[in-house]
Amino acid sequence: MKQNQVKTMLQVENLSVNYGDFQAIQGVSLVIPEGSIVSIIGSNGAGKSTLLNTIMGINKPREGSITFENQLISGMPTNKIVAAGVTMSPEGSHVFENMTVLDNLLMGSYLPHLRANKEKQLEKVFSLFPVLKEKSNQLSTFLSGGQRQMLALGRAIMTGPKLLLCDEISLGLAPVVIKDIYVKLKEINQEGITIVLVEQDVTRSLKNSDYSYVMLKGKIAMQGESSQLNQEEVTDAYFGMNQYA
């Protein structure tokens, strides 16, 4: 596949993250090539969110480094990492409940260099998710689960990212809604935004990504091109069968 010819967008090397004494991530290394969709598959508690939060600077690494476009970002504050071009749709959407849909989206264009371009970005988001335009003056509290997820994605796109991290954007949504969101995710990727997809669903992850990593108990248990990986082997790695059987 294209991984070989393209530039590395994000490189995580030997990353370890602790919560107190508890090692949530141990020695994780991974590479996200520019333009790709990379999925990180793992069961509940595998350390996926911790990994993404650490890339975003919300958690601090105990060990290891994170490099984005040849710039060391581990240790930088979250707002600087966002300004550099990495953004995240966090697990559980985290829309601003006290604000309208439009104000939520405008928060995405908060950084001064984004403000001049906000109308164009808004149009892009509204054409991806027309329902957000319909509801733009409603408080985000009144949105459905799927609409919230769209709003979180739309808000992330407003920040004009090069790399978009998606933490369980299908969590708790109906299958039709999930399908719709994944179609949009492909469109976002075709616009040139590199995507990291965190998922618990093996089939969906492999189907929608170029490359996959399987996480188990804070470590990478398996990796490979998504089209080459065998679903049963992935499932075994996911539950830790091949190592601890």
Partner: protein, 287 residues
């Protein structure tokens, strides 16, 4: 009766601007600023000092006071409150308590315990003066300034990137950071805005009533009452809270005698709390 009602409403505008800074700080960082009243009175003394010993022009003195208070707000937030805010709200609460004690003792040391007032041309004037009703120019002016400050803040909060970043930070700090907001800096900005309102409130109060180094406590209690009645963190609620408290005090004083003025204000406060524990116009339910 009518006189008490009108004065209560006008006083409410002043109360609202006393409470607004406290409401703002609570709304964004869940911090009860126990130094709010003392910071107000510090502004009052600052204006008095500038107007008596630097320039005779009250407007210049007020502008200078606002600048001093904004700088002080930045220092307090940046070097004291932000340092402890990550450890929970109790340490930060204690910091504001310390600031409060420091300011009132500092004022006592420098200015002595005598009462003071900021002389001004409005204090002795009435805009309306009939047999049944007289309206003090100073009360009316305070009321109008209170409304103007609240409307300006409302506009800033709803329509500017700065205001949205404050609302976003108060709702979900992590998500605000994910949109590029430096939330610690936003806290400092919010404190600075609160100090602008405290400076204005301090000048209005000092031009209307006599004050002492210890007056801060009295205004902290009023700010607290306003914010609790109106609902923490709500701008419109602050105005409503101010007016409810002002009217309750003056009507109570009119009916039961002026000795019961303060008491009747706080009885109404307790009644409202019993019926609506989050205040009349609280910002929606928190997670």
């Amino acid at each position: 009766m009518l006189q008490s009602l009108v004065n209560g409403i006008l006083l409410g505008g002043l109360y609202a601007i006393i409470g607004i800074g406290m409401s703002l700080v609570f709304g964004i960082m869940r911090l009860t600023n126990l130094a709010h009243g003392d910071l107000m009175i510090l502004a009052t003394y600052t204006t008095l000092t500038i107007v008596t010993s630097v320039t005779g022009n009250l407007w210049i003195a007020v502008a200078a006071t606002i600048l001093v208070m904004v700088a002080l707000g930045f220092l307090i937030q940046n070097f004291l409150v932000n340092r402890v805010l990550d450890k929970g709200s109790e340490p930060a609460l204690l910091v504001t308590f310390g600031v409060s004690i420091f300011i009132s003792n500092f004022l006592l040391k420098v200015f002595g315990a005598d009462n003071k007032i900021i002389q001004n041309s409005l204090a002795s004037k009435n805009v309306i003066s009939t047999e049944h009703l007289s309206i003090s120019a100073m009360y009316l002016f305070s009321f109008l300034v209170g409304i103007a400050v609240i409307l300006s803040l409302h506009y800033i909060m709803q329509k500017t990137y700065f205001g949205r970043s404050i609302r976003a930070t108060s709702c979900d700090r992590m998500a605000a950071e994910l949109n590029g907001v430096n939330t610690k800096r936003t806290f400092s900005y919010a404190m600075m805005v609160a100090m602008v309102t405290a400076a204005i409130a301090g000048v209005l109060v000092g031009s209307t009533f006599v004050f002492y180094p210890s007056s801060g406590t009295q205004y902290l209690i009023i700010a607290f009452g306003v914010v609790v009645i109106g609902g923490m963190g709500s701008l419109v609620g602050t105005l409503v809270g101010g007016i409810v408290l002002g009217v309750a005090q003056l009507m109570g004083g009119h009916i039961f005698g002026s000795a019961y003025q303060m008491l009747s204000g706080y009885i109404v406060l307790l009644l409202i709390l019993a019926i609506r524990p989050n205040g009349l116009l609280s910002v929606g339910a928190r997670k």
